[in-house]
């Protein structure tokens, strides 16, 4: 299990990195490498060149303001998780990040890298999508912003072009009166989840004005479902069950060696109820505070 040969550049500026990437159609970007390197070692991928962006300046920053949290391409999961400001402005970040693999992987893996790896079993892509965030990408041709809804093209496939580097991700702040929840169930602690659900609930008093849930590991791409209609009559066991029904209409759980589709659907049902309630309570507690 050793990688095939590749050429390597470690540019000192973003411009050099973009040029290196543009110059070689077989090149790939190396950031945290926690998903890429195993693929290389198993020879499931064999890029001709790695453009190591770990030497680029300023990309490791986590910037938080009232609008939300901006993560540079080299911000490690662990740094974002430990960033109190980021967690205050968008509490779903630490809730979800605590479930990303194990601590050692979070030390090196980058959140932006995880987004553009576009794994439907990963936590952060669905979080970005649930929150309506975006990713800024750069290439020698210029810069553009990709909304989360437009980022995921298919299994392990983002809509970035080959010559583009994701330089920053934006997670909007949690609105006043809104709450979030996150829970996942994995076979082993730290594994990719069999099913995970993130929820965002906005309340007006006891009334639910917005309820959305994001699902990982139950579809080919990170999937967000609007569950607001199910909770028109408030939030109780019956409406939560209805919300789960609504969600399952939109999901396509599949069999794999760890779980049947039927079991995944059950987990989606159970977790939907749990995280909606958690998000609802969270919204209430924020309003009270």
């Amino acid at each position: 299990m050793k990688p095939a040969p590749f050429a390597y550049v470690r540019p000192g500026t973003l411009e050099e990195a973009l040029e290196a990437l543009a110059a070689d159609p077989g090149a790939k970007v190396l950031a945290g490498g926690q998903s890429l390197v195993p693929l290389l070692s198993m020879r499931l991928a064999a890029p001709s060149r790695l453009v190591d962006i770990n030497g680029l300046p300023d990309l490791d920053r986590v910037r938080t303001d009232a609008d939300g949290v901006r993560l540079g391409a080299l911000a490690r999961h662990a740094d974002v998780l430990a960033d109190a400001d980021a967690g205050r402005v968008q509490p779903l970040l630490p809730l979800a990040l605590a479930n990303v693999a194990h601590a050692t992987i979070r030390n090196r893996g980058t959140t932006v890298g995880s987004l553009v790896h576009a794994d439907a079993a990963a936590e952060m892509p669905v979080v970005l999508r649930l929150l309506g965030g975006s990713v800024d990408v750069a290439s020698v041709r210029g810069r553009r912003t990709i909304a989360a809804d437009d980022l995921f093209a298919g299994p392990l496939e983002s809509t970035l072009d080959h010559d583009e580097i994701a330089v920053e991700a934006f997670f909007p702040a949690l609105a006043a009166g809104a709450g979030v929840g996150f829970e996942e169930i994995a076979r082993r602690h730290g594994d990719y989840a069999l099913c995970g659900v993130a929820a965002l609930v906005e309340r007006d008093g006891d009334r639910v004005t917005v309820a959305r849930a994001g699902y990982l590991s139950v579809c080919d791409v990170p999937t967000v479902v609007d569950l607001t209609p199910a909770l028109d009559d408030g939030l109780d066991d019956a409406t939560l069950d209805a919300a789960a029904d609504l969600a399952l209409d939109a999901l396509e759980p599949a069999d794999d060696i760890h779980a049947t589709a039927d079991y995944r659907a059950q987990l989606a049902r159970v977790l939907t109820a749990r995280v909606l309630r958690a998000a609802y309570d969270h919204a209430g507690s924020r309003r009270a505070a």
Binding site: D191, D262, Q266
Partner: protein, 824 residues
Amino acid sequence: MTTKLFGTKVNRVEDQRFLRGRGRYVDDVLPGPTLHAAVLRSPHAHARIRAIDVDAVLDIEGVHAVWTYDDLTGAMAEPLPLLIPHPTLTHGRTQYALAKDEVNYVGEAIAFVVAEDRYVAEDALSAIVVDYEFLPPVVGIAAARAATNLVHDDVPGNVGARMEQENGDARAAIAAAPHTLTLDLDIERSACMPMEGRGTVARWDPDSARLQVWTSTQTSTGVRAAVAAKLGLDLGQVDVITPDVGGGFGVKINHPWPEELLVPLAARTLGRPVKFTEDRREHFISSAHERAQVQHIEVGYDDEGRILGLDVEFWHDHGAYTPYGLIVPIITSTQLLGPYKPANYRVVFESLYTNTVMVTPYRGAGRPQGCYAMERTMDAIAKDLGKDRTEVRAVNFIQPDEFPYEHGLVFQDGRPLTYDSGDYPASLEKIKKLVGWDEFEQFRAEMAAEGRRVGIGLACYVEGTGVGPYEGAHVHIETSGKVKVATGLTTQGQGHATAFAQIVADELGVRFEDVEVVTGDTRRMPYAVGTFASRAAVMSGSAIHLAAKRAKEKALRIAADALEASVEDLELAEGKVTVRGTDTSIDLGTVAVLSNPLRYAFDEASKAATQFSVGDPGKPPVAEDDEPGLEGKDFYSPERSTFASGMHAVIVETDPLTAEIRILKYAVVHDCGHLINPMIVEGQIHGGVAQGVGGALYERMAYDESGQLLNASFMDFLMPYASEVPESIDIDHLETPSPLNPLGIKGAGEAGVIPSAAVFAAAIEDAEGFPITAMPISPSELFALRKRHAPVVEEVAQRPSRNSSVEEPRDEASRNHPTRSTDR
């Protein structure tokens, strides 16, 4: 015998090097500028090889050589040895070091490349072109039994062996019994999965025409004999050294692996040291697995649950080849009996070929399957009679006054299955107390009031340990007073250097720190068997004890001469021989000097020796029946195995919604006779339990129909982390010493893993109320079972999802059949 250290917790001496990063595992061995090997392995489960084109390989810079079957000659071109033949193994088959004409599992070795480093060697593999003709693969026991396709053309029905043993007339007894029931059980594959895979380094020394081999094995003497035979070398030309081994658990007792022959061959051919280090994917597809069996049990019993007749039929999946013979199914068929004495017992098994990785012993070696069959039967009888599960077990126990107990069967070592000692009723009392058996119904009610679902399970086992034929030891007291001990079997983490030093320090009255133990080096002890079957402490421990006694006898004899005292008046303590009750003494090191008539005064001990005179001046300096040096060598060869035993109990909680399975309490009562080092024994139990948890709840080999292993990585083969094992394990020991060896010890290495499938199945069944007949079990499978049994289970919290409400029960659900029970 002074028992100062025996039986006490002594911190391990080997830990010093491991903790400093100075362990020496095979991949750390670098005997000069070394080349590295990689192996091309079959991507297909069953195919004929039409042609192999290696032309492109040698053009790759850094590649030194490539071998395919056509390059092998002499014994290397013959199939690998069938290590343990058996008369009923009528169709034994082994693979070639490199595949000849046909491949029979994904992972079978086809070509061997040697290059400057492993990276380049792997590059070269992708340049080899193999032309395959696909053959239909046989995957799983059902396909093997159906025999629509054959793994080997010349093995009808895919049956490698059919074996039957009977004590009494089981079928007649069942026919006449007041109650009978039938169970169909299923258990899947797992694997040893040591953290260090296999690995071999070899160096050919042209000056002395000798081969040195370092290999990660459980038997250095076995590998040595195999390498010599296959390479056409004299045994004396081959040294095999087992360095630190990063776990074995059985997989490294099989030998020789293809690479254990190809690496030495390459080293001799190329005149450079060569190394092969197996990577994780290779370990999954090219080493060995174990466990898979399908079992059919018929049992007849009386009103008390006493078994009158037990008739067991099982089908054992042994994979593509049978290098290790029938050891695993024979152990299942005999050790299935556990602590019980069914009046009549018949067992029949078929050992079947499939196009999957071969099966050789994994810790427990067939016992977990046997225990599962027997303990599930006990639970089913109890349920049928409405009795407490411990009561049914108790009426079937062999009683303490019945030892030695003969089962009327032949064990794995070819000897009668005879238990030496044990006290099963006492163990049962201990485990009930330890787990809180009698208080459980109250606990269940309390939990139910909180909406929580719990269950309790119990499983008992007996384990034949310390199988022969022998082990030997050499004890050498140096003139410094330090003691060098060698025994031939190998070490994979069991702390032999500590436990064996405890035995020697006690026997010789020397400081523990002054005893150094070497294992697995054929230069130091060329006669040895290996470390497997929980035999090291019993076999080498006893041999070392005997060898130390011999050294002690000689020391006392020489000291008596030197001190002009009689042997009976001498005692050995603190590194000295002292005349009892006086302050007249002589250092053991000085005795060592005196034992050797060649006395250049190199050191203080030699000078000190000049004040003494020993030997008869009228005789030669080395007497006819003597040898120079203060050494002892002896072998221990028991008549038969010694039988350890134990009982495990577990309380589990199953989530009503998600079907997750949580362990609330795990209790172990363990009887391995006298304990040399309780800390090490408990460590073995902890590790065994963790592997058992893995095997029962997490691990399986997920083969698809085409014979591809879908989970050949640590991502998808779910070995437990700390988060998946019980937070603590309550352990109680019972010590019924073995009468078969001088230390009264029994083996402990495998015990922890034996009852797992049985005990978890029992506890989950108890929590859920429906039969659990297929293991391992995942939450997904438990969820499917709940649906299947929904009409009989109350308060089922889930309901079918819209997407799948019309689905047929899934395959995995149908693996768990309800128990059929008929009263007459």
